[in-house]
């Protein structure tokens, strides 16, 4: 498959990049929420919260860029997908409301702290599940007529979308657990190691299940993955997954605190690349390509100037913020 480089393709990569950065950055912090019930001690929960409180806000901003960028660069895709994913989108937003305010609210009350802990867990779980379901619903395709979504409002709910939803919950939990391995010490870190093992195995099962199911959704996906000579290219993905998994298992066994998180991110990157390979050049699978959905050239060019100049700058100061708060979080280091 050849990729013609034009504005729409450039923008497809930019949006894909923004969504990917969102997935890896907010992924681990949503994962922490998902793991919350497994750490019932208040002391542990304080540490978990403190490990991301300075950066969670920036993490979530990538979601706004993904959505806003999609509306600006591919307005037709945004206009078709959002009504198609109506229920999961609303669920995700409500989940994010609960977990977002929990970051501040749980420190402002003693009596109701447990309630905000539940809100943090429930909101994180709901948002993740909704994101995973939305992904599955996009992959299976939506019904389009003219420039509108024309399906029902339960079309997103299928066994496949449930599978992708659960898979994402497992994946984010793995990111969260490996993040804790990196950022904590003592007993909390040991628990995180244990959970990393469990969620890594579950994640491998999930990757396998989704990989097996995806090619059967549409002939195009099957063709994309297995046709000669495409298979030479696409086979790199499962091979890389095997290599990364081996490295990840080794780093967990040897208790190398910093490696598991980055290897887990690499697993996410590979899965994400796999999805991209399946979908390209469709932005709404089977219905709308990136060229059909593209905004007029002058909109895409106007924004490209900003993206080219600002994304590197944003990455630089975001990296600086992470650097400022580097190292292990100690139980007594609250900052509120």
């Amino acid at each position: 498959m050849s990729i013609a480089v034009d504005l729409a393709t450039v923008w497809a990569f930019i949006i894909a990049f923004a969504v990917f950065v969102y997935v890896v950055m907010d992924g681990f912090d949503l994962g922490l929420g998902i793991l919350f019930p497994l750490f019932p001690e208040k002391r542990d929960r304080d540490v978990i919260m403190n490990s991301v409180a300075p950066v969670w806000d920036g993490n979530e901003t990538w979601l706004v860029l993904g959505g806003g960028g999609l509306m600006a660069a591919f307005p037709l895709a945004y206009a078709v997908l959002m009504p198609a994913l109506y229920t999961p989108m609303i669920a995700m937003l409500l989940g994010l409301v609960f977990r977002g305010v929990a970051f501040e609210f749980r420190w402002r009350t003693t009596k109701a702290r447990n309630k905000w802990d539940i809100a943090f867990f429930g909101g994180s779980l709901l948002a993740t599940l909704a994101q995973g379901i939305a992904l599955g619903a996009i992959l299976q395709g939506v019904h389009v007529e003219g420039r509108h979504y024309a399906g029902g409002w339960w079309d997103w709910l299928t066994p496949f979308s449930i599978l992708t939803g659960v898979s994402l919950v497992i994946g984010y939990a793995l990111l969260g657990a490996t993040w804790l391995v990196m950022k904590t010490e003592g007993e909390l870190r040991d628990r995180a190691y244990h959970l990393s093992w469990i969620f890594l195995l579950a994640m491998l099962g999930a990757i396998g299940a989704v990989s097996i199911a995806t090619p059967f959704l549409h002939v195009q996906y099957t063709h994309r993955w297995f046709a000669w000579p495409n298979v030479l290219l696409t086979a790199q993905v499962p091979i890389s997954v095997a290599v990364i998994t081996a490295l990840l298992l080794r780093s967990l066994a040897k208790k190398l605190d910093y490696q598991p998180f980055f290897l887990a991110l690499a697993l996410f990157a590979l899965s994400y690349a796999g999805l991209g390979i399946s979908m390209y050049p469709y932005i709404v699978p089977q219905s709308i390509t990136i060229w059909q959905a593209a905004a007029p050239e002058n909109s895409q060019l106007f924004m490209l100037v900003g993206v080219a100049g600002l994304i590197p700058l944003i990455l630089a100061y975001t990296a600086w913020a992470y650097w400022v708060f580097r190292g292990k979080v100690r139980p007594e280091s609250g900052y509120h």
């Binding site: 007029p296 924004m303 944003i314 100061y317 975001t318």
Partner: protein
């Protein structure tokens, strides 16, 4: 449920509800971020401890308000797609890039430096920390720039063409961004944010002065806030008047609705002070009016003719009563703010700024005035634009998603329930923070000290350079 309802009406209700909830937090955090930057600058400059105490005091309040602004803002950014997908398809190529620039130049800046601002003083030192505070404050202002540009373009669209798919396309980006109403709107909104914050800061200061008039922190914040009210309230009234003239030029129908002018007046329009606009009968019932004053205010001449809604097809009328009343509420709040500013100036000159209980009680009562004015002003301008989303060009009914009423109704219900839980809790926590007086050694934004483990227990040591 919701079967009998109109999906577009429900979508509008949802937008109005989520937007009203959202707008009060940016209005507060724009002003508060600048106030925090000023406090930290004063601390670095003078070295006086009272400034860092106040900084730390308001920082905690800022964090809670900012968090609520962020989560409700994410909802807004996706609502264009969920409930207004036809609008997104048609208008996305023009306002999408403006909002993308808001994310790139403002949201990331705020969020990126927020962590350092809240928790990093000890880690990065006072100068870098001040830079972080400044970046957050600048970020909020840049955000206002882009979102008001997008909103103003919807009110007074220029610099665009329409393509074969019915999409709006920018022909000239500078004309799109700096559209005719944009400068007025931006100034009016930023001043409103500063006034809103000043009234809250002033009310908190006054509240603590009523208890202890020697409390240093309360005196400083009260005095600063009253200067703000004294100086900015009159400027805001002037800016509002200029904005009104701009609206008359570009959106005359909105002015007709705000003024309740159903009929044209050939020789001088009255100013209707109060009355009950009756859209059906096209008249204002029980009107109390001052002859010719309307023409004096809007055209600066008592005999200038004013066109009324009778010159406009009925299907292009906005809901008159809402625009009429929300406008009056906004103006009323503005006049009260002016009164507070002048009263405080008088007391200041008499040396009774910290002693006048009447002034302090007035200031406490005025705490919500800014929020009320911002909401009322926003309702005036948005409802006044109806029945269009892009003024004169794209109708609201042609902007909605192809959704059934039950879908929109259920999500509206979900937002109402969730927002009321979150909003109620947030307001309680904010009031709790404000109820505690600012004290010397106010707990700082430190990443190192063991604090807050039991909720709001203050630290024993404040953050000092």
């Amino acid at each position: 449920m919701f079967e009998g309802f109109d999906a577009v009406v429900l979508a509008r209700a949802q937008f109005a509800f989520t937007m009203s909830f959202h707008i009060i937090f940016p209005a507060f955090s724009i002003g508060l971020a600048s106030y925090l930057a000023v406090l930290e600058a004063l601390w670095l400059w003078t070295g006086r401890e009272v400034f860092i105490n106040l900084f730390n005091y308001w920082l905690k309040i800022f964090a809670v308000a900012f968090g609520m602004g962020v989560v409700s803002g994410i909802v807004m950014s996706y609502q264009f797609g969920t409930n207004w997908s036809a609008f997104s398809d048609k208008v996305g190529p023009v306002i999408g890039p403006l909002m993308a620039y808001e994310v790139l130049t403002a949201f990331f800046l705020e969020a990126g430096f927020l962590g350092v601002m809240l928790f990093g003083l000890k880690r990065v030192g006072p100068r870098l920390h001040f830079l972080a505070t400044l970046m957050v404050a600048i970020g909020t202002l840049i955000s206002a720039f882009w979102i008001l540009s997008a909103n103003s373009w919807m009110q007074t669209p220029t610099g665009h063409t329409v393509n074969a798919d019915g999409q709006f396309i920018a022909a000239d980006w500078l004309k799109v961004i700096f559209n005719p109403s944009f400068p007025y709107r931006l100034v009016h909104m930023v001043l409103a944010a500063y006034l809103t914050t000043a009234l809250v800061v002033g009310a908190v200061g006054a509240w603590h002065l009523l208890r202890d008039r020697h409390l240093a922190g309360a005196r400083v914040m009260f005095s600063m806030a009253m200067w703000m009210a004294t100086l900015v309230a009159p400027i805001q009234i002037l800016a509002g008047d200029q904005h009104g003239l701009n609206t008359l030029e570009h959106q005359p129908v909105k002015i007709m609705a705000m003024e309740g002018h159903f009929q044209s007046h050939k020789d001088g329009a009255p100013l209707i002070l109060f009355g009950l606009p009756n859209q059906q009968a096209a008249r204002v019932d029980y009107a109390i009016e001052v002859p010719r004053l309307g023409s004096v205010i809007l055209k600066h001449s008592p005999d200038a003719p004013m066109a009324g809604l009778d010159t406009v097809p009925r299907e292009n009328w906005p809901p008159v009563a809402i625009a009429f009343w929300s406008f009056r509420i906004m103006v009323g709040m503005g006049l009260l703010m002016l009164a507070l500013g002048l009263f405080s100036l008088l007391m200041r000159f008499q040396g009774k700024l910290y002693d006048s209980r009447l002034l302090h009680m007035f200031a406490v009562a005025m705490a919500p005035a800014g929020f009320i004015a911002v909401l009322a002003g926003w309702i005036t301008t948005e409802v006044g634009r109806q029945p269009f989303t892009v003024y004169g060009l794209l109708r609201t009914v042609d902007s909605a998603s192809p959704l059934a009423a039950p879908a929109v109704g259920s999500s509206l219900l979900a937002f109402i329930i969730v927002y009321f839980i979150v909003f109620a809790a947030g307001v309680i926590y904010l009031l709790r923070l404000m109820a505690a007086p600012p004290h010397p050694g106010e707990e700082g934004p430190s990443h190192e000290t063991p604090i807050r483990s039991a909720g709001i227990t203050p630290a024993t040591q404040g953050a000092r350079p």
